[in-house]
Amino acid sequence: MERVLMKGNEALAEGAILAGCRGFFGYPITPSSEIAEYMARKMPKIGGVFVQAESELAAINMVYGGASTGARVMTASSSPGLSLKQEGISFISEAELPCLIVNVSRGGPGLGGIQPAQSDYFQATRGGGHGDYHTIVLAPSGSQEMMDFAMEAFELADKYRIPVMIMAEGTLGNIMEPILMREPVTKFSEKPWATTGCRGRKPNIVNTLHLGNEELESRNHQLFNKYQIIKENEKRADAFLVEDAEIVVVAFGIMSRIVKKAVIEARKKGVKAGLVRPVTLWPFPDEHIRTAAKNARLFLSVEISMGQMIQDIQLALAGRVPVEFYGRIGFTPNPEEILQEIMRLAEREGL
């Protein structure tokens, strides 16, 4: 099959279109804008809707409206924009509207910088807005996955009636790699709950208000039962050389590839290093972490942040194995410096 060279942002946008996305609502922000630009070019040609909203707040609420019609719709932004979208994501989660939300993430806090970062991990995996809720969070690691995960995201979103987030560091939006084009999706599930006009049926209501005490509690239980099922079914991670690993490095997104190279080099130097790469950040693949701990003396979380995922690794290990942290922000750690860190730890531990 023919390979085409595509920027990650464009691969993601094309993947969404292949998945049947016909509504894009966004507000420009670096390094995500190419997704909006791609959609602005494509949507009018395929009978889809593209609206440049007046703000991220408006954009996410357009997604709320768009998803309520049963159409596959999405928005894309970057970190500061995601902060503004949190209101809408909370509402969408409660109303159980399937959609795709993309964060091509950059550094914060505040305006921060446009350098790639992973410091929105807490925001993405803990819900992010008000109330008890979660979104499924997928972390691609290259252009092909930008496309493939966009397609999977819509399937997951429809399957569980949940917003799915793709979190990709800025680098992934800009990187160009060969892509194998996928076939367009042609089968879509029925959405009898959609607000499309009540011809021939009872009116549908999309609502997030629950004034009664019992009603509010039972609503939250319903949502949490769903989250439980997702936890049981959808945790995903890749493991590399963890079988006999004494140092297990954990990294997601672009970092996982950089770490992979460092692990290969460490092995050449006789250090038994391995890698666990969470593919779903929520639900967090804690079982994969525990499995990799079999021979581990030490875990190392490598992140482009001050250390956020490390907490999930610690929770997964429940104190059984110590977890170290290596992270930078403003810079993306290179394989060379991660190798150095692995070697430093190996020496310290006498491995």
């Binding site: 703000s55 011809r199 009116p203 208000l209």
Partner: protein
């Protein structure tokens, strides 16, 4: 025997929760009558705000959504774009529309979204207990302007109909009141006209309705009607501000 009063089909049987003398219930009814008369109930999708009318999704007998505070126009935009042959209306209070949702309403109008906005201006935040809104009149006492609204401190009340009529995308902008039978009839005609403008695809339409909140005004229902006439109408003139004709 001739039936002189009948509940519109576009309203449900649910008993509404509004205070005695509140205009919300009446305005719901006017909208529903227009939907019935135009036979559009089954293709209408309504969006209710956060405010006293937050539960309006229980009262309208059509597909309904409940929006985050101020965001109804954004939600309506997306639905209308994806389902262009449906009828979309948002129902919004003055805090919802003119304060927190200012960006959404101005841009929906600027884009000429083919939706109809029913804007209930009762000069304050009803649901949260009568705080000041952007529409609160100068000198008006509210719980957050306890000494009366002063221009130096709180600025001037916003005239949304005038503001939005300056947008090219606005096709029909009208201000009415519901303080007497004649004005109620005019309000209904305006709502219908706004729906017709939407049907013809001419652009954005809004009816701003001067309404009573007797509870937070501290007036009985009758005095509240008089208060609209004496205090609101002089500052918020009634009439059509924008009528885009068919090409």
């Amino acid at each position: 025997m001739k039936k002189v009063f009948q509940k519109p089909e576009s309203l449900t049987d649910a008993k509404n929760h509004y205070c005695p003398g509140c205009s919300h219930g009446l305005i719901h009814r006017l909208i529903a009558e227009c939907m019935d008369e135009m036979n559009i109930r089954e293709k209408t999708i309504g969006i209710c705000p956060v405010g006293c009318s937050v539960l309006a999704y229980d009262y309208f007998n059509c597909d309904m959504l409940e929006a985050a505070h101020g965001r109804a126009p954004a939600i309506a935009t997306a639905i209308k774009r994806l389902l262009p042959d449906r009828f979309l209306f948002t129902y919004q209070g003055d805090g919802d529309l003119a304060s927190i949702g200012m960006a959404e309403i101005v841009h929906a109008s600027a884009r000429g979204e083919k939706i109809t906005v029913i804007f209930v201006n009762n000069t304050l935040y009803g649901m949260t207990g009568g705080q000041m809104a952007p529409t609160t009149l100068l000198g008006q006492v509210t719980t957050t302007s306890p000494y009366g609204r002063k221009a130096e401190n709180e600025g001037y009340p916003m005239k949304m109909a005038e503001l939005l009529s300056s947008n090219e995308g606005s096709a029909y902008i009208c201000r009415t009141a519901v303080n007497n039978p004649a004005n109620i009839n005019r309000t209904k005609r305006a709502i219908k006209k706004a729906f017709q403008v939407q049907e013809k695809g001419l652009g954005f339409s809004m009816v701003e309705i001067l309404s009573a909140c007797p509870t937070n005004w501290g007036l009985n229902p009758l005095d509240a009607m008089k208060w609209i006439e004496d205090n609101m109408v002089p500052y918020y003139p009634l009439g059509e501000f924008k009528v885009k004709e068919e090409q």
